[in-house]
């Protein structure tokens, strides 16, 4: 079975070249994207979990713990079963906040650079044995295949090639969150190679050594199930502990974390992996007992870890290739995962490149340098440790170390009150126990530790793995819980806890940034990053958010800041990103009464919708229902926060204004486009809760809007502010004006007979006087007298015609109200005169008791219309000789105008319907039913109220119509028109 070093070198480098080619093909785009992004590629890449430890170390585990080797596969399978509650929330967190590693995640949640550093150091210490194990496996196999006593040089060459591959294909993107598709495909290819090779080796062993399943059964009957009768069969608790160890690897091992979360193409792929990865692992675990028994049946002298080499011949080379695939894949991904962590949490913590550096260039080359360095350190650890320990021991030690992160990860998701003091203390305790129990004996070869009392603590290394694991994890958990309970978390930590919590939504405050525009962002960020980098980061964030560079809404600025922080986190880790944004993009104030950012809450509620349960789900349904109701109400609704930031802009508002919600939500009311900003801002400043029929000039057209507002400051309201309702009454106004004009014309029609009579009398008089003139021609005095009478009569005619014409034309002023000082006595008198023109109006006694000094702001012609209608009704209700009294007086801050009559009165059942359009008690043809409706409309236009009282309080019979007008009406606004 001996091969030369050259043969092995050519084979190994040949295989790694295929790996290069594979990645290169993807880079060139020769492989369809459909294939590259297929979930199966992701699952196969996850198969990288089965490292050299699985390929070789599993036999050592089987030898030592029998079926206990299965825990390696079952543990992580259990973690994938729990994808919805464990992996998916973590995936969403890492995506949302651009977190690329476990250290990033911890630093983000606990808002501490120290946490990031400790986690990075812990992961370095924990995974170095695993890295060394991979190299050791390659070195040992080379040694076994070539009988070369010093396989270190060839192992180094393989490390160098792997390092070249990792730097070329694993550090191509500047953002850590960008996927390396070429690398992923290459890793998937490696998983496929080792799966096929392992299955082939198992099948060959079964058929060549045992002659099929029956042979195997017979052999097992003869020799007993050696797996069940292992030297040190696992106790139940040991089994459970191993299961827990490998369960934790899914989230605590940096390379698994990297593939699951950083290289993840979609949530769907992760969900499919929840059952596909266990199948992959099952297929990998299945040949282990067969090959193990084959090794025993053949009586091979090879170490049990390398049982797969027992078949001899070219099958050995297949085993070597599969082992190389397993080891190289793990080395590549471990270093790719560790390098950014070391860069973000150790290097950048002590040194940040100056602004004039090209930061992208610097970061990418630092990452490449770290990848190569880590592989080299792994090689050094291999040189130091490999002589003393087998693969299973090194692997177990690494898994026990990284188990210490499991409590922190679970707390991160499900325990918001956990704090960094507890985490740091817990991790220190856990790692302390691990270092004393396993790290010192394995890595530093220390087997005795002096105790304070003078005694010595015997360290037995891996023989104590169970006790060390239990002690480390228990002390870690207990200290973490106790310290978290007795100490307080900082405000920043609480924000981090909210961001990570699965049961609560992050509720950031709606604060204002010092940077008001995108230019400000670039200017401020150019201090630490340089002009070019700052510009690039701002543009990138704007593009990702779909925002326009001119957008200066406070809401947009807050989103831009968050996006920039997330992107910087993807570049340099969350700790540095947070430090940069806090320092160079600070908030103006952080007052305690700042309001929650409702947009953020809503956006996240939408994202969480499918994950809400129970009462929360029902409440969310209710919320959505109410929101939909508001959005689709046919009245314009705009809600504002206390700081006058627009929180809602419904569909009707969009239609009314022509401005979409996306454009204005999050902006201040004064930043709305013209003319809406002035209209709404002035209304907000106005103490009145309603502004009736406000004119708005838009596109050479006048719109009539009625505005209402209500404060949301009652104690029940969680978020205060104002709600504005905007009604478009342009059409109603137009109809009303038409109606008013028609009513006037109808009134003129009704007055026509009286007018004819009134004009007929002076015309008869003029005719008589003209005849007299013929006879009085020679008497100048008589002529003068007659001329004077003629002039008086024509003046009378002119006055009648003028009243009639001005009344008829008043309704044509349909576009505006003409507010002026109106003398109410004169207005009453004008109305009485008009009514007196009619035939039926003559035999009534009209009394105008309105004081002459009583004036009000109003449209004179419309007020005369009111009085004409009221006096006309009074006339119709009274008999010949009836009394009609008009009076007015001031009462507190109101003017009260009354029209009394002593007529037949109004039955109580009619009183409440009097002001409804087309409601009339008159005979058909006598009234339209619109008179009082118009009176009501005009009084309301003057911010007044009208009331019908029957019987009249003065005469004790008939009826009384009382109008009340506020003395302080909105006169100045109307006067402008």
């Amino acid at each position: 079975m001996s091969f030369t070093l050259t043969q092995i070198f050519v084979l190994g480098v040949g295989y790694l070249s295929i790996l290069f080619a594979c990645a290169w093909i993807v880079e060139r785009g020769w492989l369809p994207q459909r294939l590259v992004r297929h979930p199966l590629v992701y699952v196969l890449a996850l198969g990288m979990y089965a490292s050299a430890w699985a390929f070789y170390g599993s036999f050592g585990m089987a030898e030592r713990y029998g079926y206990g080797y299965l825990t390696y596969y079952l543990g992580i399978s259990a973690a994938f079963v729990l994808t919805p509650v464990l992996l998916t929330p973590l995936l969403r967190l890492t995506r949302t906040y651009q977190l690329s590693s476990l250290a990033d995640l911890f630093a983000f949640r606990f808002r501490s650079r120290w946490v990031g550093m400790l986690v990075t150091l812990g992961l370095l210490a924990g995974t170095m044995p695993l890295l060394a194990l991979q190299i050791q496996a390659i070195g040992d196999v080379i040694h076994l295949l070539t009988n070369e006593s010093s396989p270190y040089h060839l192992a180094f060459v393989f490390c160098a090639v792997i390092s070249l591959f990792a730097t070329l294909f694993g550090a191509r993107h500047i953002s850590l969150r960008e996927r390396h598709e070429s690398l992923l495909v290459a890793i998937a290819f490696e998983s496929l190679v080792k799966l096929v090779a392992f299955l082939a080796l198992g099948a060959v062993t079964l058929w060549l050594v045992f002659d099929g399943f029956d042979g195997l059964e017979n052999w097992l009957i003869t020799h007993g199930d050696s797996l069940a009768a292992a030297v040190q069969p696992l106790e139940d608790n040991q089994w459970r502990t191993l299961l827990l160890l490998f369960f934790a690897t899914a989230v605590s091992m940096p390379h698994i974390f990297h593939i699951i979360f950083t290289e993840n193409p979609s949530e769907t792929a992760l969900r499919q992996a929840s059952w596909m990865l266990p199948i992959f692992l099952l297929l990998l675990a299945l040949p282990v007992p067969v090959i193990y028994w084959g090794h025993q049946a053949l009586g091979s002298s090879l170490p049990i870890e390398y049982a797969s080499l027992s078949l001899g011949g070219y099958w050995t080379l297949l085993s070597f290739i599969a082992g190389l695939a397993a080891a190289s894949g793990t080395i590549i991904v471990i270093t790719l995962a560790l390098a950014p962590m070391v860069l973000n949490h150790l290097v950048l913590a002590v040194y940040q490149p100056p602004a004039h550096f090209d930061i992208y260039y610097w970061l990418i080359w630092m990452r490449r340098l770290l990848i190569a360095s880590l592989i080299f350190i792994g090689y050094l650890v291999y040189l130091v440790v490999s002589a003393h320990h087998d693969l299973a021991t090194l692997g177990l030690s690494a898994f026990i170390a990284t188990l210490q992160f499991l409590p922190g990860i679970l707390a991160l998701l499900y325990w918001p009150t956990a704090n960094r003091k507890g985490l740091l203390a817990g991790l220190t305790a856990g790692f302390g126990v691990w270092a004393i129990g396993l790290g010192f004996p394995l890595m530093l070869d220390i087997h005795q530790l002096a105790l304070p009392g003078g005694g010595l603590l015997e360290l037995r290394g891996i023989d104590d793995w169970f006790q060390v694991t239990i002690l480390a994890i228990t002390s870690n958990i207990l200290i973490f819980i106790v310290i978290s309970l007795v100490t307080d978390a900082s405000e920043e930590e609480k924000a981090g806890a909210l961001a990570c919590s699965q049961d609560a939504l992050l509720q950031p405050k709606r604060l204002q940034l010092k940077a008001r525009t995108c230019e400000d962002f670039t200017r401020f960020l150019s201090i630490p990053l340089g002009q070019e980098t700052a510009q690039r980061e701002v543009t990138r964030a704007l593009n990702e958010l779909g925002l326009h560079p001119a957008d200066a809404r406070p809401y947009s600025m807050r989103r831009l800041r968050d996006q920039i922080q997330a992107n910087l986190s993807g570049l340099m880790g969350p700790a540095v990103a947070q430090e940069l944004t806090d320092r160079y993009l600070p908030w103006k104030t952080k007052s305690a009464d700042s309001e929650d950012d409702i947009h953020y809450v809503e956006r996240h509620l939408e994202e969480y919708r499918t994950r809400l349960t129970g009462m929360a789900r029902e409440l969310d349904k209710l919320r959505r229902h109410h929101r939909q109701t508001l959005l689709h109400l046919p009245v314009g609704i705009c809600t504002l926060g206390r700081d006058q930031e627009v929180l809602m802009w419904n569909r009707a508002m969009e239609k009314l204004t022509g401005i979409s919600g996306d454009q204005v939500i999050g902006s201040r009311i004064r930043h709305l486009p013209e003319p809406w900003n002035n209209l709404l801002d002035e209304f907000l400043q106005n103490p009145n809760r309603q502004a009736y029929r406000q004119p708005l000039e838009q596109q050479n057209k006048t719109r009539w809007l009625t505005l209402h507002k209500a404060r949301l400051d009652d104690p029940v309201a969680v978020m205060g502010g104002t709600v504005l309702l905007v009604e478009d009454q342009s059409e109603v106004k137009e109809l009303e004006d038409k109606l008013l004009h028609n009513e006037r014309l109808a009134s003129i029609g009704r007055l026509a007979a009286g007018v004819a009579h009134e004009i007929g009398n002076p015309v008869t008089g003029i005719s008589s006087l003209a005849q007299n003139l013929r006879y009085d021609a020679e008497e100048p005095d008589a002529v003068r007298e007659t001329s004077t009478q003629i002039l008086q009569l024509t003046n009378r005619i002119t006055a009648i015609v003028h009243s009639l014409v001005s009344f008829a034309h008043a309704g044509r002023h349909s576009d505006s109200l003409r507010f002026e000082q109106v003398k109410l006595h004169d207005a009453f008198q004008e109305a009485i005169n008009l009514i007196s023109l009619s035939n039926r109006g003559r035999n009534r006694q009209y009394t105008n008791n309105c004081p002459e000094q009583l004036v009000m702001q109003g449209d004179g012609q419309r007020l005369i219309q009111v009085f004409v209608n009221l006096i006309g009704n009074a006339r119709d209700a009274t008999q010949d000789g009836g009394q009609i009294l008009c009076c007015g007086y001031q009462e507190n801050h109101h003017l009260v105008l009354e029209v009394h009559d002593d007529g037949c009165g109004i039955p109580a059942e009619h009183l409440q319907h009097l002001f409804e359009p087309f409601y009339t008690t008159k005979q058909a043809g006598e009234g339209t039913g619109l008179g009082l409706a118009l009176v009501y409309s005009i009084v309301e236009e003057h911010h007044g109220q009208i009331q019908a009282i029957s019987p009249s309080p003065i005469s004790g019979k008939g009826s009384c119509f009382r109008c009340r007008f506020p003395i302080t009406a909105n006169a100045p606004e109307y006067q402008e028109q």
């Binding site: 079952l74 729990l82 139940d236 499919q272 266990p278």
Partner: protein
């Protein structure tokens, strides 16, 4: 999500009782753990289908 809590409980129970599931080892049924494993995968697949239906509702 109620469903996931149930799964969480089942996995926890499975974790504590897993050594007993593997008890009846014998030379004639060495593949028994793998059958149980297959059952676990089947359960996960069913869970995934169920989850998808639940989210579609």
């Amino acid at each position: 999500m109620y469903f996931y809590r149930l799964v969480l409980v089942l996995v926890t129970i499975g974790y504590f009782f897993s050594p007993w599931f593997l008890l009846p080892w014998g030379s004639s049924n060495w593949y028994q753990p793998f059958l149980m494993w297959l059952a676990l995968i089947g359960g996960t697949l069913w869970l995934e289908q169920k989850r998808r239906l639940e989210q579609l509702e």
